[in-house]
């Protein structure tokens, strides 16, 4: 009897526990319902007002009236800083959106940016069938699965309908940005276009080393070898020891990293690890082109001769750049900003050091080449259930019209908000550390990547470098904030941009890629590293190419070509 009673009590305890957990689960759902009813309530109220004026929300004085609600989610990283006790939900930007545009921005949830927390939270909320936000910004790579979920609407059509002229003009500079997200002719995500050419590389050299050894900056690979030889063997740092390297580089995983080696390959006619056109105009994977073999042989020679650090295959960009900033290496290939960070540190560490940008050297046949970083990393998805997408476009259009390239005397002439990214002292604008209470970038609070006209940034820098007087607020600000080195590098980048190869395959992983790509990548990096370190002869490259095609590369190449043709590439 007793035993039975015990079981009864145990069972009831269990039921109770389940009830409790069930309740708390229900409570959570209720909470979410509450949150989601916020926006729908808002739009419902708004649309009831709108029904008189037709389909769209009523506006007075350029703002929604009554207020319209826009829901979103985001990761808040350490780079998002606040002042005056503000939060991501309530800050100078959200208040501006409310006052200027009549948009009430609501965050359904936020996460830290570390450990994939955002992706995890998004996945969990989707599997729990929680309502998705009106707009959702994710990386281009993550977007494909989300598009396939069918929970988002034809963003391209909305863009055509609602985007302002200045926004459209910016987007027209990079029409290929849409390509990865086209499904059945519909553009399912809006690419968050970024500045082009800001990742194009130049050759950074220790000018004081060149001067000391009486050398000229190299313009060809052959001259580059001579300079590196001198940097290694003629003791440029004058400490009497043979402890310097010609060039820093990363051959760990990504050959086109921000301290790159891609341009060495490019000088021989092929850029590894991207899809490019071969001599016949067919799309091929760069790493298996025969030109790569010659370049690998050259790099092996350079490692043997000590031009490159022996552990170049172990180093990531940070590790490699330490060699440069500690004054142990003389050449680095990298973007225009590489001087500002981290190369500039060498000036602090080694008194008297000077770093200057030079054009990429040409190969034996006069070839130059490097990989482009593409047009964007992030995309904006628009919820299928969002009844009034014009709310989002109202916001982004306004920023493209007024903030992207602000007019003199306008709202954003010096920055987004006084006391945050600029201040006025006396009657002069001040920036950066001069702002009372410290500099805060309100653009970090924006709903996704800030508005950017792709060509404007590097082009403007180059123009200023070439003597153009800064006139517009944007030009003035750039002239004031940029280093001489970056401007000089920008000029070089613009002059050599024709040699930058776009990665022609930007779609989602193909069927065969899903199964084979990682194996092929491993095969590639292992084969290359073996050649570079002399564990396999240079001719093993030919075997690698054969194996690569046999282990799925053939099929993937075909899939990539089909895709390229299907999105209208020529």
């Amino acid at each position: 009897m007793k035993r039975k009673a015990l079981w009864m009590s145990a069972a009831s305890a269990l039921t109770l526990a389940m009830l409790v957990s069930g309740c708390s689960g229900g409570g959570g759902n209720n909470g979410n319902d509450g949150q989601s009813s916020g926006p729908s309530g808002g739009t419902a109220a708004a649309s009831s007002g709108a029904s008189a004026a037709g389909d769209e929300l009523p506006q007075t004085d350029g703002k929604f009236s009554p207020e319209a609600t826009l829901t979103t989610v985001r990761a808040v990283g350490d780079d998002v800083k606040f002042k005056n006790g503000e939060t991501i939900e309530d800050n100078v930007f959200t208040r501006w959106a409310k006052e200027r545009l009549g948009i009430d921005i609501k965050y359904l949830w936020t996460t830290p940016s570390t450990n994939d927390a955002f992706k995890t939270k998004l996945t969990l909320s989707m599997s729990a069938n929680e309502p998705l936000p009106d707009i959702l910004e994710v990386s281009g790579a993550d977007a494909h699965a989300l598009i396939d979920s069918g929970k988002f609407q034809d963003a391209g059509a909305l863009f055509d309908k609602y985007a302002s002229d200045s926004y459209k003009k910016a987007m027209d500079e990079v029409p290929s940005a849409w390509m990865p997200y086209v499904r059945d002719g519909k553009r399912m995500a809006i690419p968050g276009i970024d500045y082009i050419m800001q990742h194009d590389d130049v050759m950074w050299i220790r000018q004081d080393w060149l001067d000391k050894l009486n050398l000229k900056a190299p313009t060809t690979i052959a001259e580059l070898e001579q300079v590196m030889d001198a940097f290694v063997n003629r003791d440029p740092d004058g400490n009497g020891k043979k402890d310097t390297y010609g060039m820093i580089s990363t051959l760990k995983e990504n050959y086109n990293a921000w301290i790159g080696t891609g341009e060495i390959f490019g000088a021989f006619g092929a850029v590894p690890q991207i899809w490019e056109k071969d001599d016949n105009g067919d799309v091929v994977y760069g790493s298996v082109r025969p030109e790569i073999k010659t370049a690998l042989g050259k790099l092996k020679e350079w490692i043997d001769k000590g031009y490159l650090h022996k552990e170049v295959a172990l180093q990531d960009e940070m590790k490699a750049s330490e060699l440069f900033t500690s004054g142990k290496a003389g050449i680095a290939f990298g973007p225009t900003w590489l001087y500002d960070w981290p190369l500039q540190d060498v000036v602090k560490n080694v008194p008297g050091s000077v770093v200057k940008p030079y054009p990429l050297p040409a190969g034996p046949d006069g070839k130059i080449g490097q990989a482009s970083e593409g047009t964007h990393n992030l995309v904006m998805l628009i919820n299928k259930d969002m009844k009034h997408p014009e709310i989002y476009f109202k916001y982004i259009n306004y920023l493209y019209d007024h903030y992207n390239d602000p007019e003199a005397g306008g709202e954003f002439e010096y920055g987004f908000a006084k006391g945050y990214d600029y201040d006025i002292i006396g009657d002069k604008p001040v920036f950066g550390a001069d702002i009372p209470g410290g500099y805060i970038d309100p653009a970090k609070y924006f709903l996704g990547i800030p508005p950017r006209t792709p060509s404007i940034f590097i082009k403007t820098l180059a123009d200023i470098n070439e003597g153009k007087e800064p006139v517009t607020p944007y030009e003035k600000k750039l002239a004031q904030a940029s280093t001489k080195q970056q401007m000089a590098a920008a000029s070089i980048v613009v002059s050599q941009h024709q040699f930058t190869l776009d990665n022609l395959y930007t779609g989602a992983q193909t069927e065969t890629m899903k199964d084979k790509w990682q194996n092929l990548k491993k095969m590639e990096i292992t084969a290359f590293t073996k050649i570079l370190y002399g564990n396999a002869g240079l001719d093993s490259f030919d075997d690698f190419v054969k194996n690569w095609y046999a282990a799925g590369g053939e099929k993937i190449t075909q899939e990539v070509r089909d895709w390229y043709a299907s999105v209208g590439g020529q």
């Binding site: 035993r3 015990l6 009590s9 957990s21 599997s127 995983e253 552990e311 491993k522 292992t526 370190y533």
Partner: protein
């Protein structure tokens, strides 16, 4: 003992100890909710899982996810690497703290003993992200402190610890043991403290010296806990240490250093392929469970020792 007495006794136990059993209920519920209910998610191993479709709606793919794990050219090699590195780690990770605890136990100065104990325990708290950077510097061929000592003292050529497959495995095992053996030492020292001193007194009376005492009293007394630790470690044989390898490996040592976890990370987890991740987890648990059951049996058959 016949059946009725057994029944009587168990009823007697219930009556007498029911409070104790009631106290167990929260733990049982927690285990049920957090350990057994989630096991339902194992079905994801046989699905092409999509978060927005959920477990109920995702398409079934049969053994596809397992094919993906075993169908790759290098999956056998990756499994072999994992087992080799893991076994070396388990063996070295048992011997080192065992010997160290024995030695430390002979130290008579308490302050020194405590100091050393804390000191060797400290690396346990460092993360591999930090240690990875430190090790790459220390083991560098070019001016790394270890190679400078080796070339200086022994006059040999610098060793490419992280760039040569076999040295890489050794480096991984040694650095793992260095980081973790302080923890094992504590467990063994606790066992040593629990040995009845009268055993030693009796041995001294019988004329046993320090070495004989160690051999015939200390070591046998430590065997049970050693077997327990070894058995538990076997359960994780396919976990060769993702954090560590991921921070140390590079394309030069893929052939000898790529393990299941890093392989899966590159293949699937970066792309958020949860079905595949579950399949690998299930496979690892399966092997782990098999090994635990096997070693449990072996400990009983050969050592006549029941672990649980």
């Amino acid at each position: 003992m016949n059946r009725t007495t057994q029944a009587v006794r168990s009823r007697w136990n219930w009556t007498r100890n029911w409070q104790l059993h009631v106290m167990m209920i929260p733990a049982v519920i927690l285990i049920f909710v957090f350990a057994y209910l989630p096991m339902g998610g194992i079905v994801m191993a046989f699905q092409d899982f999509k978060p927005w479709l959920g477990i109920g709606g995702s398409p079934w793919v049969g053994w596809d996810n397992f094919d993906k794990l075993f169908g790759q050219q290098d999956s056998v090699q990756v499994l072999w690497n994992t087992v080799v590195i893991s076994v070396m780690k388990i063996v070295a990770g048992l011997i080192a703290p065992f010997v160290f605890a024995l030695l430390l136990n002979e130290v008579r100065k308490m302050a020194f003993k405590r100091f050393v104990q804390t000191l060797v325990y400290l690396p346990h708290f460092l993360s591999w992200v930090i240690l990875g950077g430190i090790l790459i510097d220390m083991l560098s061929v070019d001016g790394g402190i270890v190679n400078r000592l080796l070339t200086g003292a022994l006059g040999i050529r610098p060793i490419f610890f992280l760039g040569d497959g076999n040295w890489f495995r050794a480096t991984v095992v040694v650095s793992h043991v260095w980081k973790e053996f302080g923890f094992g030492t504590i467990v063994f020292l606790a066992t040593l403290a629990g040995i009845n001193p009268s055993l030693y007194e009796a041995a001294v009376v019988d004329g046993a010296n320090r070495w004989k005492q160690t051999l015939h009293i200390t070591v046998p007394a430590m065997m049970p806990i050693t077997i327990v630790l070894a058995t538990l470690a076997l359960g994780g044989i396919l976990n060769a240490g993702f954090d560590q390898i991921f921070n140390l490996y590079n394309s030069m040592v893929y052939e000898k250093g790529d393990i299941v976890d890093t392989f899966v990370y590159r293949t699937a987890l970066i792309q958020g392929n949860m079905g595949f991740g579950t399949a690998v987890g299930l496979f690892k648990s399966f092997i782990g469970m098999f090994l635990i059951v096997a070693s449990y049996r072996m400990a009983y058959v050969w050592g006549n020792y029941r672990i649980f």
